[in-house]
Every structure is written in C-alpha cells, then in structure tokens.
C-alpha cells in the first residue's frame, strides 16, 4: 500500500504519466497532482456529486475511484469539456438563468447535465431532476438549474431539427 504504482492515462486529451500511491483517489490525483481544481471534493464519500468527472465517457464520482483504476483510461474534467466548447451552450444557459450562487456544485452539475443531454435529447423536468438527484446544491438553486438544463435541451433539439 505504500509503494507507488506507475499509471498512464489521458486527461483532457493530454497524455499523463504518474507514480501514485494505490490509495490515492482520482479526485485527489486530479486536484493535487494535476492541479485541476475544478473537480471539487465535497463529501468525500460519493453522496454530493461535486467531484463528478467523465471516465471513458461515463460520469463517475472521482472520490470513489482510485487513481490506479484509471490506468489506460480517458478522463475528462470540467476544465476539459469547458475548453473543448462541448458545454458552452449549457454554461451560457446557466449564466442566463443564474443557476449558480457559490458555484461549488456547478462543475459536477454541468457534468451530470451534459451526461443526461447526451442520452436523452428531450428530457422532461422530472427526468432532469432524477438525473441530477445525485448532485447536491447547498445554495438551493435547483429550480434555476432545471430551467437551464431544460432550455439547453430545447435549444439543442431546435438546432438539429
């Protein structure tokens, strides 16, 4: 448990090689080793969703995954999907609807919302709430968040139609 393990992975499109202790979780690896502090650590036991990142296309709690488990994986964080422009429309809907106050939960919210919109192009409000139910916002702004996700879904549907 005290010997570092060599891992190799892709983070936000960049190859990363690192030596990590087997007990290091992915959230701490991203934050402390790669300084990608957009991935937030709230509850540290998989409840709050602030640490949500994408691993091989699926959203996961990075506080519940060990860094060594991401060997050979592709990891995307909020910094990556912001820079690629993938969620630019979702972010501007959040801005327009004022769907954040302190913003601590927002990276995880955006990750989860984008995951929903990829699976379901026209979710209803209940489905949005259900999909975001593992992401806690302690400023209690859920109404505006659901509004922003809903309007993004509509706008995207309009664009492809």
């Amino acid at each position: 448990m005290t010997t570092a393990v060599a891992i190799s992975l892709v983070v936000n499109g960049e190859h990363v090689e690192a030596n990590v202790l087997p007990r290091l979780n992915l959230a701490d690896f991203l934050r402390e080793h790669l300084k990608l502090t957009g991935t937030h650590v709230g509850c540290e036991h998989g409840v709050c969703g602030a640490c949500t990142v994408r691993v091989n296309g699926d959203i996961v709690r990075s506080c519940l995954l060990l860094a060594v488990q991401t060997h050979n994986a592709t990891v995307e964080t909020i910094e990556g999907i912001s820079d690629s422009g993938e969620i630019a429309d979702l972010q501007s809907a959040f801005r327009e609807r004022n769907a954040l106050q302190c913003g601590f939960c927002t990276p995880g919210m955006l990750m989860a919302a984008q995951d929903l919109l990829k699976q379901n192009s026209s979710p209803d409000r209940e489905q949005i709430r259900e999909h975001l139910s593992g992401n806690y916002c302690r400023c209690t702004g859920y109404q505006a968040i659901v509004d922003a996700v809903e309007s993004t879904a509509r706008a995207r549907a309009g664009r492809t139609a």
Partner: protein, 179 residues
Amino acid sequence: MTSEPEKRDPLSVLDRPNSYIGKIVPRPNLDRLMQGRGLYVSDVELPRMVHVVFLRSPYAHAKITSIDASTAKRMPGVVAVVTGPELAAVITPWIGVLSHLKGLKSAPQAAIAIDRVCWQGEAVAAVVARTSEASTGQARAGNVFMNAALPRRPPGLAWATNHARSARTAAWQFLCRQP
C-alpha cells in the same frame, strides 16, 4: 427626529424602487466558476501549509472520560493533536449575544469540547498534519472514551432516551493515516 426639511441627493439608477427586485443582475464571475476555474479555500496552497481534521462526537450528549493521543502524536507527518483544554489556553470561548435583546446570551462555547459534548458532531480533538492523508485516518492512533449521558426525556420522544441508553457507554478510536 429633526424638524429640518429633508435634503436628499438625487437618486441614482440603482436607488430607484425595484431596480434590483425581480431582475437578473449580471455576475461576471460566473464564467470562471462554471469552467472549474474558481479559487475556493480548499484550492489554496500555501508554503508549509498543514492540514487539520476534526475528530467529532458521534453522540449528542456525552462525557469525555479520556483522550489518549500519544500514538497519534508520534505518527509520521503529524504536527499536533489538540484537545479542548489545550486549545482553551489560547482561545476564549465564544458567547453569543444579541444587541437588540440585552442580557440574552448563550452559554460559553469552547472551540473544541472540554469534558463533555453537547451535540452530535461537536469537535473533540483536532489532528494537524503535513498532508491531508496524514490527518485523516487509516492506522489506529488514539483512543477517546466517552460516557453518553442520558438526556432528560422530552415529552413524546421516548426513542431519544432509548437511543441514549444504547450509547450510554461508548468508546471509539480515532484514526490517523500514515503518509
């Protein structure tokens, strides 16, 4: 009250009635927060920074009978293990007062519990270490012994008494991860 005629500066746009109410006020910092580029306290790193983890009471009302931090203090990476009485030497207890209700004040509240805890989650000890890993736990590093007190039974809350009884004598070990 004065009898002088009221003299007022002309109102600015923002002073007009309803200038803010119901309006979305632009927040230029939102973009940074939404891109994961905010700077929260937990993102701050300082030279020689140490990390603290509070050991908290699992009981709502209990007497602390002993705290043995000797092993924890010897763990590599641990800078200090601080208990209530030790901290009380440098911090006076907080007493809440209300300026509009003179004479009303809370009981003194120590930063870390001294002798007894009064709520679940109250800090019992603080472990300070050079890395956050060292201050949270994996290897057994110390013991805290507590006797949960039986609360006075509030009407209709029998479960509280039963719960307290089952937790009457309690001991738990606190943990310190090796770096």
